[in-house]
Symmetry: C2
Subunit: 209 residues, 2 copies
């Protein structure tokens, strides 16, 4: 089964081949896969910063406990979730649905009201916790898509969100960095690439009732 072979092939790449770049065609496919990811209500409450600037990546590496993949991978995606869910987010989303499906926004009033109710009854912190789950779905989708294309990736949670904010100006956009994905091609020198994959057995991870 190709899917499982590809998922076994992937691993959290520690050392990338600095001479290899992901092609712009492949990069567009990865971005499209992220874009097509599911999210709660379909709201996509996040933004992805695609950091091409070498200078910025140097700064982000320092804000990521010096992890080398941040500068050595071909590409770096910073997944940022919205700090709160406001009426404006919902109004924009309703507008997007109405335009995409060519319907009257008034027909969506019930859906709009129910979302507004949900989020206005929560604290900002609760809305942020909710929002922060959603880019992880996109991350899972991205990692899977990379594997299917035999592109390497390393997702990393070990970042300093405050420093990321200083460098990328996130909070003024209402965003917070949640985690990053470094993307590229493994170096043959990465010894960790040859280590056996460690996963709980199905019998432990799953319980059937």
């Amino acid at each position: 089964m190709d899917i499982i072979n590809n998922l076994n092939w992937r691993y959290a790449t520690k050392k990338f081949d600095t001479t290899r770049k992901v092609s712009s065609t492949d990069l567009e496919i990865l971005k499209e896969a992220v874009r097509l990811s599911a999210s709660s209500f379909g709201l996509q409450p996040y933004k992805v910063i695609n950091v091409e600037s070498k200078e910025v990546r140097e700064k982000l590496r320092a804000a990521s406990y010096g992890q080398p993949q941040v500068t050595e991978a071909s590409n770096l995606f910073v997944f940022c979730a919205y700090l709160d869910l406001t009426s404006e987010h919902i109004d924009n989303y309703i507008k997007l649905i109405a335009e995409t499906r060519n319907i009257d926004p008034q027909e969506l009033k019930g859906f709009s009201d129910s979302m507004k109710n949900t989020f206005s009854n929560n604290t900002s912190e609760q809305n942020h916790v909710w929002a922060a789950h959603q880019p992880y779905i996109a991350l899972g989708n991205l990692l899977n898509t990379c594997a299917m294309m035999n592109i390497d990736a390393c997702p990393m949670g070990g970042i300093d969100p405050d420093k990321y904010d200083e460098i990328l100006g996130l909070s003024k956009q209402g965003l917070r960095a949640e985690m990053i994905a470094t993307i590229g091609y493994r170096s043959e020198e990465d010894v960790t690439g040859h280590w056996a994959k460690v996963r709980k057995p199905v019998s432990e991870l799953f319980e059937t009732i």
Copy 2:
């Protein structure tokens, strides 16, 4: 591009064909895809309840605002995150690494200590928030894998975790239900399957710097 075509093909299925079951071979592939998902530190701080029991699924439907997919889909996975991360989780993980890679657990002491430090410096609530991100990566991986296999799925966050706990006895295992995935085959009668997919344009979701 097949991957993108498949991701466009998928949608949050509202009405499943109740006559069609996912084969046991395919179900094992889906479980394996979940199992192979990445997680922070590799800790896989979650468990998936695969609910086969019709009776339990009826109860869970009532605890999911009556959403019909809970009983009508071929399969139901309940993703549950651990409420805290304890030394025991880490010791078990270190044991698993040592066994899988045939190395002395003592060689992993530095890694073990750094994880224990991280989690013991957090509150339980912080550890739970961290743990709860991880099954979303697996969910993204599952949804992507389903799409590649032309199996339908609907991820659902609209569940009552307290009622899920009562029905499934989760908190006594140190778990909390985060979200569910219903899996099967779309019904031709599902009008929502013909609606245009609504997603932010790449230019809005991504920012390149």
